[in-house]
Symmetry: C2
Subunit: 440 residues, 2 copies
């Protein structure tokens, strides 16, 4: 059927290029928080070349400066696994491709399924998805929502998940949601997907900038704004007073501690911040600490506890859900190993009735996750209740299709593919020899 | 006091070299199991150079072939943090060094505290410990057991641990164990530390080799032997029948599934293997699955559940202990970020009354962990009950002081330092240009 549209039977993946691309964001303290004082938003970037003229697959993982070269090295170890393959063979078994990449018996030792190796896997997996969507001349979200429930289930590796979600349960869930797909797609096309704004509250911004940017967020139509906390309690109280003052009592004020606390500290600190009626506290402690998040969640209710931008894989999300530790899953599009594993978490979250509110910002994360949330709403969760995509207002100009956020809502992407930087952005910000870094 | 012995006030760390060193172990299927079909035991190796003649610090992380170059790249990103430092300044604050290495705000994004970055951190941390012990002309275990309880506590980063173990609790525990240190050291010096043998049971060995090697283990004095399982149930039954036949009813038969099962599979499979009365089942599922291990432990009791060779950091061990998920912690000397983090886990385990039975084998792991277990017994746990160090009988000849296992017990190391390969081993096995790889 649709598989016969734009099929490329003879196209091969012929090779790949990698780029270490870094943006000097630390100069303005954009992105500063209690753990990450001065990030240079960066990406370990992969371009898959094919035998078809101008058809390339782009993928990347997001990093914050030093160490991007390590992810590039990891991509170089993985990408040869798709070179020489027929593009259509890859597209026909994206689930099998994911398992091969994650399952290489020697590379697996370096994880398994976490950190540098998993982020590099994301770059490769997402580059193939980008290629697939471009070949079909569709934005990724559209390619995904046209898959059948059976095809979606086949994308997911259920190893380590079946105590929480079996393939049969996932299939039943997707079939149940099949009915309203067209209606929900039309609704998204008309109204967009809700966003919240993280731009106002970086820890390195002074009070005036915090106040001005909260005001701008309200004026732009955002109903929820996030502020970084965890540096000092006194500063937090002063900053939250400013933010709450601008937001008024009815807008949501999210807090983000970026992992700086131990469990008892998180509980004590949040007791002090409770009067500001936070919508959620994000990353109160180590992203590895499932039991710790569960303990914090019990103590700080009704404030929601959320985490996920550093949750390393679907197994951590499974446990966060099993333990009742989180009120939302903040999946990261390229810390999880690409589209396939994000879909695994979307299915788990739907099974537990918990919203997915993707981590975004950085460089390119907004461009990626809008596809994933659109798919989630249309095919998996079927709901927008308490669902929002993070939004940060920088570095979008470096993408071939920058996200469009209007009235506090993400509009659906229209260009074929997943997300790709412009050739100019890649050339200018190449580290250490691009003009941004080498000119004095 | 002792700090004035062999102090090197003017010595600087002047630079470093890295080596990608690989041993072609896959040729004989040594090390083969259900997950790792054909490993080439390898190491990303670091040599810290100093301004003192012939004084070097060696550290490495263990890998199994492909991807070793990624760990080397990660070591190169971290090692500059110790270059230019005075050696004595590093020795005087090993806890601070650990926190600086783990806490670099840009590199931390690539973990945090897990996988490639954490393994590379282990190489750097352990290289400084090797340097420290060589400077003091003592084997590492001896350097450690001469630290005061206060000095030991200062080595540990308690962030993320205080809900299970506070510095004060750790101090109390160490003080309580201070009394018997000399007696326990004398006992180890006389009788060694118990070992178990993993050499007989690799999945790639045929039945005759399994039987012969079990017999050799019994003859060598081992009381416990480990066999790999999880490939096929029929094979497992046949192989366990052989092993149990040779071991008799009273020796311990350990099983190791190397993570191949989901939780329900692990429970069902182990029900089938229960008649062989296993001592433990190791790595029944993903090392990230704390709740899964707890569920399996409840189902397979009285068979012990253990894991740890892939447990990424102290936060996972903390939860495994909190959840009652493991009967022993199988710390890995260079997947945890070196000596400091292993000590954190030794303290946690002692607090919960759970034995630490280190992962060993690979290349160099036996040489490393004998120091850690000696320290554990003398200063932390104070007990040998159900404590054993894994032993595998290959690649020891490549170390300056190969471990000595006699009558099924590890003897205490005598040479100054931690563990280091010979210059010959490094030169011959350098990948891809050493003679072992480039000739022929």
């Amino acid at each position: 059927m649709r598989a016969e549209v734009n099929v490329l039977p003879e196209v091969l993946v012929t090779g790949f290029d990698t780029v270490d691309v870094r943006f000097p964001t630390s100069l303005a303290l954009d992105g500063s928080d209690a753990m990450n004082q001065a990030p240079d938003y960066s990406a370990a970037y992969l371009v898959l070349r094919t035998s078809a003229p101008e058809l390339e697959g782009h993928g990347f993982c997001f990093t914050i400066g030093r160490g991007t070269e390590i992810c590039v090295e990891a991509i170089r170890a993985l990408a040869p696994m798709v070179v020489g393959e027929k593009a259509e063979d890859l597209f026909a078994d994206m689930g099998g491709l994911w398992r091969r990449l994650v399952g290489d018996s020697q590379l697996r030792w370096l994880g398994p399924e976490k950190g540098v190796m998993h982020m590099a896997t994301a770059a490769v997996v997402n580059a193939v998805w980008d290629l697939y969507a471009k070949a079909r001349r569709k934005p990724l979200w559209k390619l995904l929502v046209e898959l059948t429930p059976e095809e979606i289930v086949a994308l997911v590796d259920f190893r380590y998940l079946t105590d929480a979600l079996t393939p049969e349960q996932a299939l039943a869930l997707l079939r149940e949601r099949e009915a309203g797909r067209a209606e929900r797609e039309a609704r998204l096309a008309a109204g967009g997907y809700p966003a919240y704004d993280t731009s106002p509250g970086w820890l390195g911004y002074d009070d005036d900038k915090l106040r001005r940017r909260c005001r701008e967020a309200v004026d732009a139509g955002f109903t929820h704004v996030k502020v970084k906390v965890g540096g000092s309690l006194e500063d937090d109280r002063r900053r939250l007073r400013i933010a709450r003052d601008v937001l008024g009592p009815d807008r949501g004020l999210m807090l983000d501690a970026n992992q700086v606390w131990s469990v008892p500290e998180a509980i004590a600190w949040m007791a002090e911040l409770a009067p500001f009626e936070p919508w959620w506290i994000e990353e109160p402690t180590s992203p590895d600490d499932v039991l710790g998040h569960a303990a914090i969640a019990r103590s700080v209710a009704p404030v929601r506890v959320v985490t996920g931008e550093h949750a390393q894989n679907r197994i951590i999300f499974k446990q966060l859900l099993q333990a009742g530790a989180v009120a939302a899953c903040q999946v990261d599009a390229c810390r999880l190993a690409g589209v396939n594993e994000v879909i695994a978490v979307l299915l788990l979250a739907a099974q537990f009735g918990v919203p997915v509110c993707p981590h975004a910002g950085g460089v390119g994360l907004c461009e990626l996750v809008v596809h994933l949330s659109a798919f989630d709403y249309i095919a998996v969760s079927g709901s927008l209740d308490e669902r929002m995509i993070e939004y940060v207002d920088h570095l979008h100009e470096h993408f071939t299709e920058p996200v469009r956020v209007v009235g506090g809502r993400y509009l659906l992407p229209r260009s074929p593919g997943y997300a790709a930087m412009t050739p100019r952005a890649l050339a200018d910000h190449r580290f250490p020899d691009g003009p941004v870094w080498s000119s004095g």
